[in-house]
Symmetry: C2
Subunit: 105 residues, 2 copies
């Protein structure tokens, strides 16, 4: 059985967010996302076909929702984002990498 | 949007492992499991209908597989367990609670 670690294999420098596929099968996807101060471009929204469950495992981030403001996520915080709920990443920590785990289902 | 934290709401004393459903929909389930030195009973194996992706977010554990020995999981280690791959938990840390996040799909 092959194990890996969510906190390793992180490049020192990231020009853009890093998306790593962990599992992809039968309509579900598990993905690691590393942000390094990155945010979604101003005025741009994620509008996804799938529900997304997301947890911050390191760092800090703010998600903004088109219809109900901001949610600040610290280590361990998780949130369920229903499909087509428009959102953007309005902040990630500039001081350390933010590690997200996302499950799309 | 309702956030929660995977590291909070953990009882001080656990007579048995604590399973908390986080998401359950359309054939996938996301679950938090807290172990406090617990192991699977000797000679008993999990033989699951679903694939399971599991990560240890705190603590330490050993999974034993019927056909290929043991895998030690520390904080951040994850593993994919195919359906019907027989396994048991042969160790969890007695010194701190072990927090697992499991995705059954």
């Amino acid at each position: 059985m092959q194990k890996a670690n969510i906190f390793t294999n992180i490049p020192q420098t990231l020009n853009e967010e890093l998306f790593t596929n962990i599992i992809s099968k039968d309509g579900i996807k598990i993905e690691r996302i590393i942000s390094d101060g990155h945010t979604t471009n101003e005025g741009q929204w994620y509008d996804q076909e799938s529900d997304e469950w997301v947890i911050v495992l390191q760092g800090e981030a703010v998600l903004s929702f088109e219809d109900e403001g901001e949610v600040r996520l610290k280590t361990g915080n998780y949130l369920n984002i229903p499909a087509h709920k428009k959102h953007r990443v309005s902040y990630t920590s500039p001081d350390e990498k933010t590690i997200w785990l996302a499950v799309y289902y």
